[in-house]
Structure formats: structure tokens, C-alpha cells
């Protein structure tokens, strides 16, 4: 056994928890190592002193003070229960505050419907983007074919949900037919 092992096992030796072979090794070590022998004696002395220290006791009137505290705690809890059970309570709030809160929440919901337009009637952003994309491929107004002009008028009058289909089909046809001319016109306009 070395000194580190001794330190690990000093309490186990005192508590008689070591095996017989470990006890022999432990005792051999402290008989050969003066430092560990001294440490061992000090540990035993420290334990003995801890056990001998004067025991602290509660002061006089401890029980009376405790009982007084318990009475106070009881009174407080009774007051709390009375307050809750007195009917002046609505889910933990006073009725007037509870009513005011409900009114406020209702008002916020009402205003949010009134102030902001109904989102379902609005044209989806996706559709307008698609129309813009189609429009960007179209020629300027003065060069539009009659078919395209009619279609754009139709588009503005049609229900928004039907527009993408019409736009897609028609613009695809016209685009495939007029594409070389459009490119040319766009280039001319740039110049």
C-alpha cells in the first residue's frame, strides 16, 4: 500500500469496512510510514473531538414561539380560504376586473375584424406575381394583338381564381407564336 491508497482507505479502516488482507496492508503501511501514521492519529483525534463537541440546545420558550407561529400561519391560511370562498372572486380576479378583461379582449377581436379587411377576398400575392410575369413577356400595349387585348380585359373582369388558368393558356399560345417578334421589339425599345 502506498500513501495515496492509505488516504483513500483511512475512513474505511476506522469504520471496519476493509477486508482482512486490506487491514493487514493498511497496518503494515502505517507502521512503516511516519507521515501516514501521524495523519491516521490526527483523523482519529478529529473524529473523537467532533463527537465530544458541546451539543447546542434550543433556547427556552422554543415550543411556545413555534406554537405561536403555527397559530399565525393557521390564521393566515384561514383568511386566504375565507377570501377565496367569499364569492368575491372570479377565477382569482375581482368581478369588476374580470368583466373589464373580458370586455377588453372582445373589443380587440371586434376591432381586428373591423380595421383589417377580410383576407379571403383579397387577391393572393402569388396570382398577381404570375400575372406580372406573364405581362412582362407581353409586348408593349400599342403592339398587342387583339386577342391579347381582349384577354387582358377579360382577366380584369374575371374572378381572381380563374385568371391564372386563362392567363397561362392564352399567354403560352401567344408567347410561343410572337416570341421572336417580342424579343426584337424589346431590343428596339431599349435602343
Amino acid at each position: 500500500m502506498n500513501c495515496y491508497e492509505f488516504q483513500d482507505k483511512v475512513s474505511a479502516y476506522i469504520e471496519k469496512e476493509l477486508t482482512l488482507s486490506d487491514v493487514n496492508r493498511f497496518e503494515n503501511h502505517i507502521s512503516s510510514c511516519k507521515v501516514c501514521d501521524s495523519t491516521f492519529s490526527s483523523v482519529r483525534l478529529a473524529i473523537a473531538n467532533l463527537q465530544r463537541t458541546k451539543r447546542v440546545r434550543v433556547s427556552k420558550g422554543f415550543n411556545d414561539r413555534l406554537l405561536q407561529r403555527l397559530k399565525n400561519e393557521k390564521l393566515n391560511s384561514i383568511n386566504r380560504i375565507q377570501h377565496i370562498g367569499s364569492g368575491k372572486n372570479f377565477f382569482g380576479y375581482q368581478p369588476k376586473y374580470a368583466f373589464a378583461s373580458i370586455l377588453l379582449v372582445g373589443l380587440i377581436i371586434f376591432l381586428s375584424y373591423e380595421v383589417f379587411p377580410d383576407v379571403q377576398t383579397r387577391e393572393p400575392i402569388q396570382l398577381s406575381t404570375q400575372r406580372d410575369l406573364n405581362g412582362s413577356l407581353q409586348a408593349p400595349n400599342n403592339f398587342r394583338t387583339q386577342n391579347q387585348a381582349n384577354l387582358s380585359v377579360e382577366n380584369s373582369e374575371e374572378d381572381s381564381l380563374q385568371i391564372p388558368e386563362l392567363t397561362k393558356e392564352n399567354s403560352a399560345k401567344s408567347n410561343s407564336r410572337d416570341f421572336p417578334r417580342k424579343i426584337k421589339l424589346v431590343n428596339d425599345n431599349k435602343k
Binding site: 483513500d8 458541546k54 447546542v56 422554543f62
Partner: protein, 196 residues
């Protein structure tokens, strides 16, 4: 409850759970001094220790139904006291009311007894205060385990339950605490020999 000496702790707490308040008083009488001795070693001042012990008994009164007979009553009550003492120490740390000098042996001013009044009792008191300071200077987890084992003389298993720490860790902590304590107390014994 007049002859309540025959009741075990478990029986008393069960009676108290059924509404017998005399059983509560008996439990207070049984544990008040053990608890204050433990808490005092922990926090170091008697007034605070007494407040903590009172809080412990108030908790016992309010939370009596939380006790389950699978555990020893002593383990349960020491757990409550230990947790309250730790909370108090944390509060104290936050408030920073205790200066660093309270924690160390070196900077503390002791009332060293004058030669005329030095008798065995005074020396014992002096040694007691030195031991108390040595305990206080230990880290909190070493201190708690050491107090419960060497002052309150609880078993390793009980300490393990109270502190909710594995048995092996408790044994290791107690061993290390004892080694640290003997190191700190060496100087005390030297001083004492010098005074004598």
C-alpha cells in the same frame, strides 16, 4: 398521548397525519435539539439555526401528508432541515452579509483566554469554537456529510438518502472531509499545547 414514549417516530407521524396534534408536539420535543445541533454546525449562528429549526417544524406541520412510511422519519426531517439550511446559506451568500473572514480560520479574531482564567473548561470552549470554525471552512458538501456522520452519528445509508447522493460518493466525501479537517485542526492542537 400521555404515555407517548412507547410510540416510535413512524407511529407518531402517522398519528399526527390522522389529526393528533400531541403527536406533533412529541416529535418536536424529540428532534428539536438534534436538529439545532446539526443546523448550528452548518450555519454557525444560534439565532439563525433556531429560525431554521422552527421553519423545519412549520414545514412538518404543513406538509405532514407528504411523509410516506417507506422512509425513516429522521431521514425525512433531516432532509427538510438540510435543504432549509442550504437555502439560508445561499441567501446569505447573495446578500453578502458574511465577509470572507467568517469562512477562514486565519483572519478570525478569537478571544484567547488569559493565563489566570485558563482552566480546562475554557480551553474546551476555545477548542470547540476552533473546531466549529474548522467545520465551517469545509466545502458545503463535505461539511454536511461530515456533520451527519461524526456529530449526528447517522449511518452512511441514511446520509445517502438525506442528501440524495450515491452511497459511494458519501463515503468518499466523508473520508476527504475527515482528512481536510484533521489538517485544519493540527494547528489548533499545537496552539492548545502551547497555551497549556
Amino acid at each position: 398521548m400521555s404515555d407517548n414514549i412507547k410510540y416510535s417516530d413512524k407511529e407518531l407521524i402517522l398519528r399526527f397525519q390522522q389529526g393528533d396534534e400531541l403527536a406533533y408536539v412529541e416529535l418536536v420535543n424529540r428532534y428539536r435539539n438534534r436538529l439545532i445541533n446539526f443546523v448550528f454546525r452548518f450555519v454557525g449562528t444560534k439565532e439563525e439555526s433556531e429560525d431554521i429549526v422552527q421553519d423545519t417544524f412549520v414545514k412538518l406541520y404543513e406538509k405532514k401528508d407528504y411523509y410516506r412510511p417507506i422512509n425513516e422519519f429522521s431521514t425525512w426531517i433531516f432532509t427538510i432541515a438540510s435543504n432549509l439550511a442550504k437555502t439560508e446559506l445561499r441567501k446569505r451568500k447573495r446578500r453578502k452579509t458574511s465577509s470572507l473572514s467568517d469562512l477562514g480560520l486565519e483572519n478570525k479574531d478569537f478571544d484567547v483566554p488569559v493565563q489566570d482564567t485558563t482552566d480546562e473548561e475554557t480551553l474546551d470552549e476555545f477548542a470547540d469554537s476552533q473546531i466549529q470554525d474548522a467545520i465551517q471552512s469545509l466545502q458545503i458538501h463535505f461539511r454536511t456529510a461530515l456533520i451527519l456522520r461524526d456529530i449526528e452519528e447517522l449511518s452512511y445509508e441514511e446520509i445517502s438518502k438525506i442528501l440524495d447522493v450515491p452511497l459511494g460518493t458519501i463515503k468518499s466525501r466523508i473520508n476527504r472531509a475527515r482528512l481536510q479537517l484533521q489538517e485544519k485542526l493540527k494547528s489548533v492542537y499545537k496552539d492548545r499545547r502551547r497555551i497549556i
